[in-house]
Structures are given as structure tokens and as C-alpha cells.
């Protein structure tokens, strides 16, 4: 029997995958072949280390909090769609912007800076819509993100920073946080990621401030 065949079999040695005949052949071969014998030792050693590695199963820190977040995300997974679909169905960007402004007002963060940001994001939405032909769900998320950024610049920032500090919210990278794109199909996400880079260019002041805050809490 050639060593090459034996080598393949050695990988399944002791896993119940070899026939009795194959096992007997391996045993006999190993007795007389130095290199296959040493290979068997190495395979055993690797198997032990992989076993150690497997035993160190990763567990999330604070699994209850994660489960809570998961259930909350599932429960809310339709809500933003509902709010934003209403906005988007109104068509003209001007109307959307006005409504956006109104929503910001309701949220208690009616400042010139935010209006400015909203304006920029609204423009970006249109740009993305025409250039990337993303489905509506992508814009829904952009919208929600815009809202969050507005909130962060206002009174909400302390709460969000606290969440970031305790690991409940991820601050880095901001571009990914901004667009809650995790529910999208992979292809769309790639396009959003590309668009995220545009956001950095479009609203650099916001990003710089967020980055600074991140450095502060590090």
C-alpha cells in the first residue's frame, strides 16, 4: 500500500470512518513505515490541540443582555419600516425633508445643525436611490440612522455613550453603525458600505465629532 493512501486514511483513524480492513492495513503499514508512524503522532497531537480549542467554546459576555437585545430587535423589526415607508411614499424630497424636520422636532432635537445634517442625508438618500437602486428597506434604515445621529448630537448622546461604554452599543466603526444594514441581503450591504464612505465625505463634521467622542471614551 502506498503512503499517500495511508495518509488519507490516517486522518479518519479512530473516528469510526474506516472499515476494519482499512484499519488493519493502516496498523500494519505504520508498524513498518517510519514516516507514516510519525504522521500518525502529529495527527494525534493536532487532534488534541483542536480538542482543547473546541473545549474553549466562546460565550458572549452578558448573554442575557444579548438575548434581550435579540428579542427587542425582532419585535421592532417591522416598526421602522412602517414609519419610514409612510415618509417615503410621500414622494417629493421636499415633503420628506419637511416631515423629517417635523419628526426631529417631535423628538425634541430641533436645531439648525440637525436640520443641516438631515438635509444632507436626505440628499444622500436620493443619490443612493438613483445610483445604487437599493430596495426601500435600505433607505428605511438610512432614515432611522439619520434620526439616531440627530439624537446623538442632542441630549441622547449621554445615554448612547453610556451604552457604548458598557458594550451595549457599538461605536466603531461609525459608518457601519450608521446604517443598520444587518438585515439586508449581502449584495445590498456592499452597496450601502460603499455609500457609507460617501457619508463620511458628505457629513465629515458629524463623523469627526463622533470619532472624537469615541476616542474620549476609549
Amino acid at each position: 500500500m502506498r503512503c499517500k493512501t495511508i495518509e488519507k486514511w490516517l486522518h479518519w483513524y479512530g473516528e469510526g470512518e474506516l472499515s476494519a480492513e482499512q484499519k488493519a492495513t493502516v496498523d500494519a503499514h505504520v508498524q513498518s513505515c517510519e514516516s507514516c508512524r510519525s504522521l500518525l503522532v502529529h495527527i494525534g497531537r493536532a487532534r488534541d490541540l483542536i480538542g482543547d480549542f473546541r473545549a474553549e467554546a466562546p460565550v458572549p459576555r452578558d448573554p442575557e443582555a444579548l438575548a434581550g437585545d435579540v428579542v427587542r430587535a425582532a419585535r421592532q423589526s417591522r416598526e421602522p419600516g412602517f414609519v419610514a415607508r409612510g415618509l417615503f411614499s410621500l414622494g417629493r424630497p421636499g415633503v420628506r425633508l419637511a416631515l423629517g424636520g417635523a419628526l426631529v422636532f417631535i423628538l425634541g432635537s430641533f436645531f439648525m445643525e440637525e436640520i443641516h445634517i438631515m438635509n444632507q442625508i436626505s440628499g444622500l438618500e436620493n443619490k443612493m436611490k438613483t445610483e445604487t437602486r437599493l430596495p426601500q428597506s435600505a433607505f428605511v434604515r438610512c432614515w432611522v440612522s439619520a434620526e439616531r445621529i440627530a439624537g446623538m448630537l442632542n441630549g441622547d448622546s449621554e445615554r448612547l455613550l453610556e451604552q457604548a461604554r458598557t458594550g451595549r452599543l457599538r461605536f466603531v466603526p461609525m459608518a457601519r453603525y450608521m446604517f443598520e444594514f444587518q438585515h439586508m441581503p449581502a449584495g445590498d450591504r456592499m452597496r450601502v458600505l460603499r455609500a457609507c464612505r460617501d457619508v463620511r465625505k458628505t457629513v465629515p463634521d458629524v463623523m469627526t465629532r463622533l470619532d472624537q467622542k469615541y476616542i474620549e471614551i476609549q
Binding site: H11, E17, H42, F53, E56, V59, P60, A67
Partner: protein
């Protein structure tokens, strides 16, 4: 309560049942996610994404397939997407710390160090495996699923799983031997 009952109840919109379903399966989904993306933060995101998908698509799940096969397939795909993004957008995610919390940190510092080294060594080796091989290795050798279930999750033949497993193990073994200078 059995997974099956929880699935049926969740389907009809029972959030409490869904919540228990999450608690029951989250540890394993997290393990898969972590082992694919090798980042605690990303793994958390993936877990969240997976269960939101499950919640939204429960109506499409057919009861004649094992729930975990369906769930793990969603988990593998979500984790893979995240891994691909990370690779392609390495600059975007630069600076993000990867961290792992072991189930029970070893009180013996020397053994803890050894474990850490083993972990880093195997993770490094895993990182260099082509996607499919890496997944097969994770599902079969780390998550200890059968060859058959691994094949079902990855939608390929058992022969295909075995072949990938062979090359994955060989690569990892060679990395280990090289590191030990044997």
C-alpha cells in the same frame, strides 16, 4: 418546552415563546458566529441578525426539516456575509478590537497562556483556510455536527464535506507542526 412547540407558538406571534427559543439556541448560534467571524462584537451582531431573520421567516420554515439545520444554515450564511464584508472592508473596520470570553478562564496562569497560544495558533490557521473548508472544519470538528448534518447545512454532498475536512485538518496540522518546530 420542546423546540418544536416553541417554534409553533412563535409562528403565531407568541413573543414569549420566541424569547425562550432565543435563550435556548443563542449559545450555539453565538459559537458558530464567533468561530466564523473571530470577533466578539461581530458575533453579537450576527446573533442578532440571525434571530431577526428567524423571526421574520418562521412562516417559511418547513417543519419536516430539523429546526437547528435551518437555524444553523441562517447562522452560517449571516456569519459568512459578515466575514466577507470584514475582509473587503478591512480599512473600514480597522481598529476594532477582537476579544473573546472563555466559558471559564483558567485560574492557572501558565495553562491559561498555553490555551491562549493554542487558540491564536488555530485561529490563525483557520483564517487562512478557504471559506468552504473553514466552514466544514467549524461545523464538523468544532461544533461537532455529523458529516451528514454539516452537508445539509452547507447544501453539499457528504463526500464533499469529507474532502474539505481532510484538507482543512491537514492545513491545521501543518500549521501546528510548523509552530512547534518539529
Amino acid at each position: 418546552m420542546e423546540t418544536r412547540d416553541l417554534v409553533i407558538k412563535s409562528r403565531s406571534g407568541d413573543m414569549q415563546a420566541f424569547s425562550r427559543l432565543v435563550t435556548l439556541h443563542q449559545p450555539y448560534v453565538y459559537q458558530i458566529a464567533y468561530r466564523v467571524v473571530l470577533s466578539a462584537e461581530d458575533a453579537r451582531d450576527v446573533v442578532q441578525e440571525v434571530f431577526v431573520k428567524v423571526w421574520r421567516n418562521l412562516s417559511k420554515y418547513r417543519m419536516n426539516t430539523k429546526f437547528t439545520t435551518w437555524l444553523y444554515r441562517i447562522a452560517v450564511n449571516a456569519a459568512l456575509d459578515r466575514m466577507r464584508q470584514n475582509k473587503r472592508h478591512a480599512s473600514v473596520i480597522a481598529g476594532e478590537a477582537s476579544g473573546m470570553t472563555a466559558a471559564s478562564p483558567d485560574p492557572d496562569p501558565e495553562r491559561a497562556l498555553l490555551k491562549k497560544e493554542t487558540r491564536e495558533l488555530i485561529e490563525r490557521a483557520m483564517n487562512r483556510l478557504p471559506e468552504k473548508r473553514r466552514l466544514v472544519f467549524i461545523l464538523r470538528d468544532l461544533q461537532e455536527l455529523s458529516v451528514q448534518e454539516t452537508a445539509e447545512i452547507l447544501k453539499c454532498s457528504e463526500q464533499n464535506v469529507k474532502s474539505h475536512l481532510y484538507y482543512a485538518r491537514r492545513h491545521i496540522r501543518e500549521t501546528i507542526i510548523k509552530s512547534e518546530g518539529v
